[in-house]
Amino acid sequence: MTEPTTTPDATPGATVTADVPLVRARGLVKRFPITRGVVLQRAIGHVHALAGVDFDIYAGKTLGVVGESGCGKSTAARIVARLLEPTEGTIEFEGRDITTLSRRQMVPLRRTVQVVFQDPYASLNPRQSVGQIIAAPLRVHGVEGDRRKKVQELMAQVGLNPEHFNRYPHEFSGGQRQRIGIARALALEPKLIICDEPVSALDVSIQAQVLNLLGDLQRERGLAYMFISHDLGVVRHVSHRISVMYLGSIVENADRDALYDNPRHPYTVALISAAPTGERGARTRRLLLAGDVPSPAAPPPGCTFHPRCPKARLVSGDPAEVPERCRTERPVLTDVGEGHQVACWYPIEKGDAEKMMEIQASEITLEGDPELGVAQTEGLTDAQPRPDDLVDGGTGL
C-alpha cells in the first residue's frame, strides 16, 4: 500500500522523490465503534470506514475521489481536514507529520486547509449576514486589517455583488450560496480546499458556473483541491489525478484520462459504465453490477469487491464461482505502469469489458445470496471480518 505515486504531469514511470506533496497520507485507517448500551457503551463491533489508504495531494492540482456512499471518501476528506482523527496512519502536510499535533498546534495549519460543503443551505448560518459569514474565519484567526474591504474583494472574486454583503443567505439562490461558501473558504488564503460534493445540490445549469469558478481560482491562486464526488462527469472535469474508492479502500489510482480511457479495476469499469452520459441519446450497453455495497461493519474477506465482481467470474468461467485468491487474499495497490495503480489480482485487460457484459448480473451468485446487500443481517455472518478488527467478534448493525 505504500508504493510511490507519481505526480499528474510526471514523466511516465518516474516516481516522486524531490517533489514533496502538499498532503501525504499513508496507511489511513478509521474505525468507528458500534456501541450498545446506554451507560457502559460497550463496543460490539466496528464500521471500517477506511481500511488503510494512501494518497498524495500536490500544490495547484486536484485529487478527485470517487466512490459510492459508504466507500470512505468523506471520512478521508475529514481526516485530511483534521476534523476526524485517524485510528491508524499518518498525514504529512508539506513534509511535516501533523497526525499527532495538539489542537493548539493545529491552529496555524487550519488556515491552510479549508472546506466547501455539499449543502449550501445547511452550511451557512441563516442568522448571519453574508459579510459576517465570510469574515468569520478572519475573526476566528484574528486577522487584522479592513475586514469589510477584504470581504468585498472576496465576494467580487467569486462573482457575487460586493454591495450585497449585508444580505442574508435566504436572499441568495443555491448557486450564489455555494459562492458564499467558496468565498468563506478563500478568506484565509488556504493552500488546499476540500470540496465535498460541492455541486451535487445545485441545478444543472448552475453546476457549470461553480465548476468554472473553482477552475479559475485554482489557476489564479495555485490552489490544491481534494474533490469528493459521486459524479464521474464532474470528477473527470475537475481532477488531475483520481482515486476510486470501494468499501474503505482505494482500488485504483490514475491520472485523469488514463482512468477513463483505460480503467484497470473491474469496479471502475462498472462505475464508468453505469454513469449516464447522455451520449446523443444513444442506448448504451451497461455493465450492471449485482447487488449492493456490503456493510462496512462486516466487509467481505479477501478482495472486498469479490462478491459483486464480474471479472472474478470471467476468470473462473462460472457465474457462481470466484477464484480462491479473490476470496482469501486482499489485493494491494500495485503499479501497472505510468503511475497507474490498481488493487486487483486480475486487472482488466483489453476486451474484458465486453466479455464481462456477457455475464448477466442476475446470474451472479455466491455463497448463498450476496445480492441481499447492506442491511441483510443474516448475511453478515457469511462475511468474516478480520478478528483483530473486532472487539468481541460481533457484527451487530
Binding site: 462498472a270 446523443r280 450492471l288 442476475s362
Partner: protein
C-alpha cells in the same frame, strides 16, 4: 410519438395551468403544458428546480390541493377527464390505475410497518382481496422487481433495506395492482451510480413486460437519455421542447436544451472549460415578458420578448417553443458545437 394527436391515448394533457395565489403574487408553477403518452412508452421529463415538472405530475395524480391552487386545462387518463374528478374517484385511480414512485424511498415507506404489509395495504384498500391473498400478491410483486428471497424481505422493516432495495420495494408497491401508468419522480436521484443503473434497467424491463406507460421525471438529461422514447424539456412551467429522444438529443431546437446539453460535464469526453447557462431561473411570480428563457439566452432578439412563444411543430412531431427560424437555429447550433469542440 407523443405529440397531441387524435385517438385514445393513455394520458393526454392539454394546456395544463397550475397557479398558486400567494401574498407576494400568483406563482405560475405550470403555465400551459401539453403532452401525451401511450402504453409501452416512456416519457422523460427534464427540468431544473422550479420548472414545474413535479407539479405537473402531482396535478395529474390529483395530489395538488384545489383550495390552494387554481388549476385549469385538461387531463385525459384512459380517455377519462380527471382534472375535476372527485377525491374518491382520484383515490381509486391512484394506486390502482396510476402507480407512483418518488425520489426518497426512505421517506415514502412507513418505518414501523413491515414492507410486505405496506404493499399488501395497497391491495386491501383498492380491492376486495383477503389478507392472505394481499400478502401473496405483495410477495409476488417483490419477486417481480428482482428482490432476492421475497418472502423473507416482505417480513422485514424498511431500515433493514438498502437504498436500492427500498426503491425496488416502492416500485413493487406502485405496480402491485398492475396499473397502466407509472409516474417516477426522480426515482434514482438519491441512489448510487451503480444502483441507479439497476433501477433504470428494472423500470424499463417492467414497462416492456406489463406494457405500461412510464413518466420519468429528472433534473438530468443524461439519466433519461437511455430509457425514454420521448423527451420533454421544461422551463419555467412550460415545455421548451418536446420530441422523440433522438430528435431532442441529436437535433435539439431550443437554446435552453442546447445549454443543458453543453453545460454538463460528461464522463466520456472532457472539455477544458464548461459553457454554463448564464444567470438564474426566473421567479415564477414575475416571469420575464415573452419567452421566459430570453434573459438567459445568448441568441435573444427583440421579438423574443414580445409574446409568449407557442410550441410549434417542426415536422414529424418535434415541437419547440423558440421563435428563431429553423435554418438560423441550425447555423447557431453549429457555431456552438464548433466552440465546444475548440474547448475540448
Amino acid at each position: 410519438m407523443s405529440s397531441p394527436r387524435e385517438g385514445h391515448k393513455l394520458l393526454e394533457v392539454r394546456d395544463l395551468r397550475v397557479h398558486f395565489p400567494t401574498e407576494d403574487g400568483v406563482v405560475k408553477a405550470v403555465d400551459g403544458s401539453s403532452f401525451a403518452l401511450d402504453r409501452g412508452e416512456t416519457l422523460g421529463v427534464v427540468g431544473e428546480s422550479g420548472s414545474g415538472k413535479s407539479i405537473t405530475f402531482l396535478t395529474v395524480m390529483g395530489l395538488i390541493n384545489r383550495s390552494s391552487a387554481r388549476i385549469s386545462g385538461s387531463v385525459l387518463f384512459e380517455g377519462e377527464e380527471i382534472i375535476d374528478a372527485s377525491a374518491a374517484r382520484l383515490r381509486d385511480i391512484r394506486g390502482k390505475r396510476i402507480g407512483m414512485i418518488f425520489q426518497d424511498p426512505m421517506t415514502s415507506l412507513h418505518p414501523m410497518h413491515r414492507v410486505g404489509d405496506q404493499i399488501a395495504e395497497v391491495v386491501l384498500t383498492h380491492t376486495g382481496a383477503s389478507k392472505k391473498e394481499a400478502a401473496r400478491l405483495a410477495v409476488e410483486s417483490l419477486a417481480e422487481v428482482g428482490m432476492p428471497s421475497p418472502e423473507t424481505r416482505a417480513r422485514q422493516y424498511p431500515h433493514e433495506f438498502s437504498g436500492g432495495m427500498r426503491q425496488r420495494a416502492m416500485i413493487a408497491m406502485a405496480l402491485v395492482l398492475k396499473p397502466s401508468l407509472l409516474i417516477a419522480d426522480e426515482p434514482t436521484t438519491a441512489l448510487d451510480v451503480t444502483i441507479q443503473a439497476q433501477i433504470l434497467e428494472l423500470i424499463d424491463e417492467l414497462k416492456e413486460k406489463f406494457n405500461i406507460g412510464v413518466v420519468l421525471v429528472s433534473h438530468s438529461l443524461a439519466t433519461i437519455a437511455d430509457v425514454s422514447q420521448d423527451v420533454m424539456v421544461m422551463y419555467a412551467g412550460r415545455p421548451a421542447e418536446l420530441g422523440a429522444r433522438d430528435q431532442v438529443f441529436q437535433d435539439a431546437q431550443h437554446p435552453y436544451t442546447w445549454g443543458l446539453l453543453e453545460s454538463v460535464p460528461r464522463p466520456d469526453v472532457r472539455v477544458e472549460r464548461l459553457i454554463p447557462i448564464d444567470g438564474q431561473p426566473p421567479s415564477l411570480i414575475t416571469l420575464p415578458p415573452g419567452c421566459a428563457f430570453s434573459p438567459r439566452c445568448r441568441h435573444v432578439r427583440p421579438e423574443c420578448t414580445a409574446a409568449v412563444p407557442e410550441l410549434r411543430d417542426r415536422g414529424s412531431g418535434h415541437l419547440d417553443a423558440c421563435i428563431i427560424e429553423p435554418d438560423e437555429k441550425t447555423r447557431l447550433r453549429e457555431e456552438r458545437l464548433a466552440a465546444l469542440e475548440a474547448g475540448a
